[in-house]
Amino acid sequence: MRADLTRRSVLAATAMTVPLVAAGCKGVGGLGTLPKAAPDVAVLHHAIATEQALITRYHAALAGSPGLAGTLGPLLAQHREHLARLTSMLIVPATPRPTPRPSPTATAGAARPRAATLAALEAAETDAASSLVRRLALAPPALAQLLASIAASEASHALLLRRDGAAG
């Protein structure tokens, strides 16, 4: 998955760079409005990979603890919204990816206690939120706002997971 992402990053970056080079050769002033590429493409791909990893974790957790569907379902749905919004910002759209399925190992290790499952997801949400915030400076303004909003959503997911863990 990582190799695939890297390849698409390169594709997106190439798509952005080539016209600029061409414009430089021909001296076409009208192309000065082309968006700048590069670091923000990497930030976007990082955010997409983060969401995909979280979705995979939620699938694994649900496979192991179907009783948690009431708690985890709405949070998983919001991660899908995050992923869709982020993917829509790609210049070269990611090819539609089949819904991630829990790996056999994740399913096999299913009989995790409820509290441990919730605690692991809470930690993953917190990590995801802080990794998005750490990359804010590299993003153009609109993407920075989206990342900050998604990070806030994930911090609140962690809050709900902690409460449910305490209640269970």
């Binding site: 709405p74 949070l75 749905a77 919001q78 919204e81 995050h82 919004r85 939120a129 915030v133 804010l136 400076a137 303004p141 609109a142 920075a144 706002q145 989206l146 990342l147 900050a148 909003s149 998604i150 990070a151 806030a152 959503s153 911090a155 609140s156 997911h157 809050l159 709900l160």
Partner: protein, 168 residues
């Protein structure tokens, strides 16, 4: 909490230049939203029972502290902080506990939206600070509503905070 000129505020003050206007505008919007939230929490608190009122008081204090900090940041930029209105029109009638809780959730989303304006600035410290404030709003909203949002601060159709009932 006054006089606590934040490191973020000092930093942006030193950058001077044309961006100062953008910084001031974003901070003024955040301050206007905080002013409306301070007023709104007063309205909500009046409708709540003892336990919930204690939580409302806690959040009201958090918004007052944020307001004071924004005022200090603006003052350090040489800009006069926008004043609070005498009264604000609530987005819906606030009678009873349910409406009061909905109001708290609404206010937090409005304030989060204003802080996303700070996240759009160039200064990385202000970005990080704005993201932290938006996250705090999302956590308070989740505490009140018992649910999370996919895009705190981005979803609301009406981007403006609670309107003043009349010009002073």
């Amino acid at each position: 909490m006054t006089g606590g000129t934040s490191s973020a505020g000092t930093q942006s003050a030193s950058t001077g230049s044309a961006s100062t206007g953008q910084v001031a505008a974003a901070l003024q919007s955040a301050l206007a939203a905080e002013n409306a939230a301070v007023y709104g929490y007063g309205v909500a608190g009046g409708q709540l029972g003892a336990t919930a009122r204690k939580l409302a008081l806690q959040d009201w204090t958090a918004h007052e502290m944020a307001r004071d900090r924004l005022q200090a940041m603006l003052t350090s930029l040489g800009v006069k902080p926008v004043a609070a209105q005498a009264a604000y029109q609530m987005p819906f009638p606030v009678h009873g506990t349910r409406a009061a809780i909905s109001l708290a959730g609404y206010l937090e989303n409005q304030v989060a939206a204003a802080y996303l304006g700070v996240v759009a600035l160039d200064d990385p410290r202000l970005r990080a600070w704005g993201a932290g404030q938006a996250q705090a709003c999302a956590l308070r909203a989740t505490t009140w509503l018992g649910r999370t949002a996919a895009f705190p601060g981005l979803t609301s159709g009406s981007a403006t905070a609670a309107r003043p009932t009349a010009s002073p």
